[in-house]
Symmetry: C2
Subunit: 379 residues, 2 copies
Amino acid sequence: MHITVQREKLSNAVSHVMKAVSARTTLPILTGIKIKADEDGLTLTASDSDLSIEVYIPTEEAGEWGVTVHRPGSVVLTARIFSEIVRKLPNDEIELEVDNRLVTLIRSGQSEFTINGMNADEFPQLMQLEEEKVLSIPGDLLKAMIRQTVFAASTSEMRPILTGIMWSLEQGQLTFVSTDSHRLASRKAMVECSPELSFHNVVVPGKSCNELVKILDDSQDPVDIVVGENQIMVRAKHILFYSRLLEGTYPDTSRIIPQGSKTDMVVNAKEFLQSIERASLLSREGKSNVVRLVTMANNTVEISSNAPEIGKVIEIVHPQSLSGEELRISFNAKYMIDALRSMESAEIKVSFTGSMSPFVLKPTENDWILHLILPVRTY
Amino acid sequence: MHITVQREKLSNAVSHVMKAVSARTTLPILTGIKIKADEDGLTLTASDSDLSIEVYIPTEEAGEWGVTVHRPGSVVLTARIFSEIVRKLPNDEIELEVDNRLVTLIRSGQSEFTINGMNADEFPQLMQLEEEKVLSIPGDLLKAMIRQTVFAASTSEMRPILTGIMWSLEQGQLTFVSTDSHRLASRKAMVECSPELSFHNVVVPGKSCNELVKILDDSQDPVDIVVGENQIMVRAKHILFYSRLLEGTYPDTSRIIPQGSKTDMVVNAKEFLQSIERASLLSREGKSNVVRLVTMANNTVEISSNAPEIGKVIEIVHPQSLSGEELRISFNAKYMIDALRSMESAEIKVSFTGSMSPFVLKPTENDWILHLILPVRTY
């Protein structure tokens, strides 16, 4: 292989695929990035047991030079070293030349590295997906859907299936659900796809979702999602992202979402969040991070918390509206803070069905987002 | 004590004194911030075994309100909790009211904290310094002097005296020296003081110096330095900063700085730094982080390094000038990178006296800064 490549494009491609390089692996070749040059351009690939990322640099695009392939070929270079070299090279052009012992010369300006490469044939092949179940969604919407649900996924390996986000599709509506069994987040959106396409129980690891958020840019350009038997592929411009799916059956969460409500409250999201954050300064000193919410006379709500030996805090909140039964309820402040921060809405409706039952948060302006939090039984 | 204080001023004051709060201490009172109100304003104090910081908020300054003292008094509040409360309170005004059991009410808007306080009489008194040895220096210059030397101080407790910066003053010239016995940094500046004032062997802990850099702002406003028997005080606007001095005699470093030179080289600081940084990508894979520098024919210098099993790197540097004997020398790349990054000069003169002797870096435009690095003996 012998190529000359534009440094910034190579640097961006390397930083994308780096997210799939595993620091600890039993397969030494997976500490590397596979670099493959053919007449169309340059392809970089990295892979760990959970996810694989492939980034493509075309020889030229929209009149802008990307890479010149003097001699096609391939090599695998240790990701950590290669990424740092690329980032620090002095010139806009980088030359890579691999000899028949896989020794790779990296040249830029007055700088010349000679790095031992590995055989690209030993790099695992990415599994090809049959493109039967394809749907299309704006990249920034996919990112928002992940961000608004991934925090509620479990981080404990006690029930591995709960460490993922459950994706489902029905009648053109894509739904993401996550829960750690103490709280639940759900986000829906309409997507472009064939009307008969549907799937359920597609559980994407939370870690993969987090990496996907980092790789996708914030544009509305559509990305394709292809769902396979045990993996999923997301295809953005010049990027292919593969993640394995979690095995097992995701619990049916629909039946735990209460249908009616006994007490309803509409709050300014920012003010309510700040009150909870202040109350949690003391509640988090304890183990369970519990704050209390009590409805008061004259349409106010009191948020309170205390920490033994330190002190206590009382916050008075004035909801936009408050109706229904009187209520005293306790909950984990962190769950409330996570939900409120993720919602990006000015007004939130909170619907309670008694102090022992889960309660629901929704934006007032739409039905796409729903958060459910289980109370803590202190009363 | 009962006061109403402007939130941002209180928040800034708290974040300054926080730097002297020790996380681990055998004296519980030192986990707190002492808050004292009298007719002039509010004083916040924190202290650990090494340093103490006092910040003052006047009742009013340049027509701008700071604090209203309804009833003078004092209290000590746990620093970690108090600082977070202050940062998160909703209103521009914060009311603090301490009752006779030291329970402190912190009120702002609809938010009300009740925090258990400690007795301010138990807080250790700051030692007063006799203001005999006072000098004055622009704050930004003091910060620069610290930044340009502190990195070369030792971080090992093997020789505690080397973990500090040695300050000395003679004929109006303030000198900072630091060394970890492998490299040395020196920075001089003229300051304002009485002409007969002089001191030597004033060794300020590196950690104190780092905190001082964070507290001083970047203005040219003068700060006063008062040197005492075993502590030093720096006085900026509304801030008093005390640090203990390290005990012992700082080694005489003047005799290890070579007077002549056998090979001289003037380089563009940025280009030279980047070459060393690239070479160190491989050298740091080894234990000693060694790069080689070799003078070549036609006025060039070769920087090189290698890492077993990974590869090697060669950098060609074109110095602005190169004169004297041929040279092959090896040194720790980190020491060179630290020195070059700190110097903030466009051109650097490097003076060698053979491959086994320390070499010296100076800016070409002035004599205020000197760095010395001991070579590694590989040739």
